[in-house]
Amino acid sequence: MKSFLKQWLKQLSAPSITLWLLLLLIVLVVIGTLEQAQIGLYAAQQNYFHAWIAWFPSQSLVKIPFPGGATLFLALFLNLAASFFSRFAWNWKQAGLWICHIGIVLLVIGSALTFYLAQEGVLKLGPNEAKSQFFNSRFYELALTQQGIEYDRMIAFPQSMLMDKAKLPQNDLPFTLEIVGYWPSWIQQHAHPDFASYDPTKVHGDEPGCMVQIWANGSAIAHYGLVLDIPIAFTYQGEQYQLILQHKTYFIPFQVHLMAFERELYPGTDTPKAFTSKVMVQDTKTQREALIQMNRPLRYNGYTFYQSSFYETETGYGSVLAVVYNPAEEWPYFSCILIFAGMVLHFCVKLVGFIHKESRDKGEHHG
């Protein structure tokens, strides 16, 4: 059994596998990058780098399957992990290689953690506006708010649940919601009476829309057509409710208040020199003023705010901040330092060996 495992590990860690995987990864990165020019960064990430199987080229009818980034990284990870038990020798000369490859393993784990755990989005603040939530512009959700006396209760159904004929499970409501239809762009449905009240020239037709039916005691009591960011209010059994289709929203446990936004240009040009948002962050206990600039983000309670963009309003500039909450934020730092240290150590060991050999050869030559 033990020898079988050993045999198996040895095969898994074969250097030829490493080499093939590296080559495949190079090819994948090249075609993924070239495809970006056609399909954009986000689609390229989804179709190539984060995918298990990449279909190339993504815009043609005939597609060739290719191992995606996720597959290749997992395979490299396994190949490397197996090498620790079968291929690497335990001696000081190899210490650099050990450290370097442990770093790589940690880097891959950290990336996976970031991929699954991080929240990211944007916080758009008008002049003198305060907010405690941000949204991710790529994903949508259906939010139902039950208005209470002391606080409102919000239930959000993610995009993945918004499928045709899907019943949204929620036990403690007196009614159930059913998705009659969900469309990535609602304009195809504009003839339907539920959407008749929206003006396609004012509400962007290329944004998603959905139709919701409300069921209570086995009968349908109402149905609504929803488009992005336009709420619909209704009353049931004396309670106030509000339904809205919105960008996926995250709440932050404090408030960010935009005090001022400044934009500085180089004299006589349109080249920006600096963007600065002056904000006040406050929670129940403390409040603090901070400046957010390019290359100088604000970190607070595990959230990081970056100066991303700005827009003009009638009352002044508004600021767009990118927000990231990433519990695995430090992983790449530690793992990369390990990898680098390992590489340098190994390089130095080799270099010393080379110099020794040179001087020995020289000695022989003279002798």
């Binding site: 250097p15 030829s16 490493t18 080499l19 590296l22 080559l23 990864l25 190079i26 990165v29 090249v30 993924g32 990058t33 070239l34 970006q36 020019a37 960064l41 390229a44 990430q45 780098f49 990336s111 970031t114 990211e120 240009l265 180089y266 004299p267 006589g268 040009t269 080249t271 920006p272 020199k273 600096a274 963007f275 600039q293 390019m294 290359n295 983000p297 990081t304 970056y306 991303s308 990118a322 927000v323 990231v324 934020e329 790449p332 730092y333 990369c336 990898i339 680098f340 590489m343 340098v344 390089f347 080799k350 270099l351 080379f354 040179e358």
Partner: protein, 632 residues
């Protein structure tokens, strides 16, 4: 040996361009101007304008050559003469045909006087293009737009002092009432004569008289004529581009052109002093009074130091003029060429081996000059010299030369002159590639906000470009190895082993720095955009290079490739560097597509073609030499 040293010092001495500085030209060159967002010497403005218009930094005239600054001063002070010089480079004969300009010869330059009659046709051609996107334009349309931009820009510089042109209405009655001939008067005399505030430096006694006349009999016919003429020049010839005069209010940072200063609602005493000095310079220039010019220039420098610039900024401006005068990278390029020739000569025969030592001396000299150039750029800009594509090329060439020299020292016994040749060849090639960018825009220009971080520029960009440099050097050595195998006598296995060691070591070094550079880039991205890795084209380029180097190291270490594999692999590394470094700019997407991308394509394709030739040679020689041993 001593003789050789004498020759070297002789060459160094005569090639030293500092000696040129005996005239008053440096005083002109060092005049501070604000241009494209930063304060620079007048010489830099002149060079940029001239190289954009004519593709070189001197002007050919009948009596010899004009330097950029001399030409620029003429544009400012004697525009009519300057308009006769042949400076507008028109490469495409189709353009000449369209505009009906008489054709000289291929790739020639045309004067403004020749182009002016064709301007209505140019405007007509360009008008419908305004609504088009940059990508939709074809070559001739782009060239027409460039020509129009150059012409308009040139015209506006010519109008900088248009208020000093003679006043055209020659009116006998007016002349009589003023008591002086009209030809002595210029626009300036009429521009401000109505002002109550006194600017003694700007007006003459005759103008006082004019003012009194105007006050006593407003609304006379010749007064209307003057008014109309003044309005006309203010509408058509009020030039704003040449911002020579610093702001006197500390809260402003926009410099102003002479015209803008003149028509500003408030003119302070210091400003009128500055303007007045320029006017006097203008008059002295017309009279070609050298002594007067010199003393005025000295006065002007004293004035600007007193009123506008602190010592440090003034020093930086003079330093930049000094840097321009030295033109170090031009001489460095020549030296690299000499080194390459020396190495090649030293291979030809035993009696020519002395040339090798000449090459060694040249490389020391060239490396010193190259380093000094980079050092000056660092001093002038106060940031690491790697902020745009031009600078990274100069830096990479510097680094590969240095690394080549070190390798030469390490392998001097067994692979004599190989890395010397590789390093100098690399330096020559990259400086040649970089040269074009120097003509296209200000290579010391301001940085957009996201790049403006000295810490990350110094760490990320330096390390990643060192990675590029080392990979390129390995590739260059690989190419030499291929050439030696092809054309020299059959090389021994000892030589092969040494080449392997050299290339393998260089690639290991390159891997470390590519990795460090990529990772530091990730840290920077994490600091300013909130993600460590985003699959941006430039990031991917660096990743591909890193993976390729890792592949080579693993393949070599596990015995899958040997000599030829490593050599061919290192040449492929060159292609990856070129694609990562310049190629992604051609995709024109992503966060890194700053810098300049026009004009890269042809050179890049040329480079790829060259590398492909080397690759096929490499495969051919491998197949030829290893019929039995199939392992690459």
């Amino acid at each position: 040996m001593v003789k050789v040293w004498w020759i070297i010092w002789g060459i160094a001495f005569f090639s030293c361009p500092i000696l040129v500085a005996q005239s008053i030209e440096p005083l002109w060159q060092e005049i501070p101007v604000q241009h494209q967002g930063r304060i620079k010497p007048l010489d830099s403005v002149a060079r940029l304008l001239l190289s954009q218009i004519s593709g070189k930094t001197t002007v050919q005239i009948e009596s010899g050559k004009l330097s950029a600054t001399a030409w620029f001063i003429q544009v400012l002070f004697q525009p009519t003469q300057a308009q006769g010089h042949h400076i507008f480079l028109i490469e495409n004969p189709e353009i000449l045909e369209h505009l009906q300009i008489p054709y000289h010869k291929i790739r020639d330059r045309y004067s403004y006087h020749e182009i002016r009659p064709a301007l209505p046709r140019l405007y007509q051609f360009v008008r419908p293009l305004r609504s088009k996107e940059q990508q939709e334009l074809n070559l001739i349309e782009k060239q027409m737009l460039t020509l129009l931009r150059n012409v308009t820009y040139f015209e506006e510089f010519c109008d900088t002092f248009s208020f000093l042109e003679p006043f055209p209405p020659q009116d006998a009655v007016l002349a009589q009432s003023l008591g002086m001939p009209m030809s002595l008067l210029d626009y300036l005399d009429f521009l401000r004569f109505k002002d109550q505030a006194e600017h003694p430096s700007l007006s003459r006694p005759a103008i006082q008289k004019l003012r009194m006349t105007w006050q006593s009999q407003p609304g006379s016919a010749w007064m209307d004529k003057i008014q109309a003429e003044v309005m006309h020049i203010m509408q058509h010839k009020l030039s704003k581009v040449c911002t020579l005069l610093p702001p006197m209010q500390s809260e402003l940072n926009h410099w102003r052109s002479p015209w803008q200063t003149l028509v500003a609602s408030v003119m302070r005493e210091e400003e009128s002093q500055g303007l007045n000095l320029w006017i006097q310079l203008h008059r002295a220039y017309q009279q070609q009074n050298l002594q007067n010019l010199q003393s005025l220039l000295l006065q002007y420098h004293a004035w600007i130091q007193q009123t506008a610039l602190d010592e440090k900024s003034y020093f930086k401006v003079s330093l930049e003029a000094h840097y321009n005068r030295l033109d170090l990278f031009f001489y460095t390029r020549i030296l690299y060429l000499l080194i390459v020739l020396c190495c090649a000569l030293s291979w030809l025969g035993h009696w020519l081996e002395k040339c090798y030592w000449l090459g060694i001396c040249f490389i020391l000299l060239a490396f010193f000059a190259h380093s000094y150039g980079l050092f000056l750029r660092m001093l002038i800009k106060g940031r690491p010299p790697i902020a745009n594509l031009y600078e990274t090329m100069v830096f990479v060439s510097w680094f590969s030369v240095g690394m080549g020299a070190i390798l030469e020292f390490a392998f001097r016994k067994r692979l004599k002159s190989i890395s010397l040749f590789a390093g100098a060849g690399m330096g020559l090639f990259l400086l040649f590639m970089a040269e074009k960018f120097a003509y296209e825009s200000d290579t010391m220009g301001v940085l957009v906000a996201v790049l403006d971080s000295n810490f990350w520029l110094a760490t990320h960009v330096t390390t990643i470009t060192i990675g590029y440099a080392a990979t390129l050097l390995a590739g260059m050595i690989g190419q030499i190895a291929i050439l030696l195998d092809c054309f020299a006598r059959k090389s021994s296995s000892n030589t092969h082993a040494d080449f392997i060691r050299m290339i393998y070591g260089t690639i290991s070094f390159a891997t470390i720095f590519t990795f460090l550079g990529t990772v530091l880039g990730g840290f920077w991205a994490d600091q300013s955009w909130g993600r460590f890795w985003g699959w941006d084209p430039k990031e991917n380029g660096a990743l591909v290079l890193l993976l390729w180097n890792a592949f080579l190291l693993h393949a070599k270490a596990s015995g899958y490739i040997r000599y030829y594999g490593l050599v061919i692999g290192s040449v492929m590394g060159n292609i990856m560097v070129a694609a990562a470094w310049w190629g992604v700019n051609l995709l024109s997407i992503g966060l890194h597509s700053y810098g300049f991308s026009s004009g890269i394509r042809d050179r890049l394709l040329f480079f790829f073609a060259l590398e492909c030739i080397f690759l096929s040679l490499g495969f051919w020689i491998w197949i030829k030499n290893n019929k039995r041993d199939r392992k690459i």
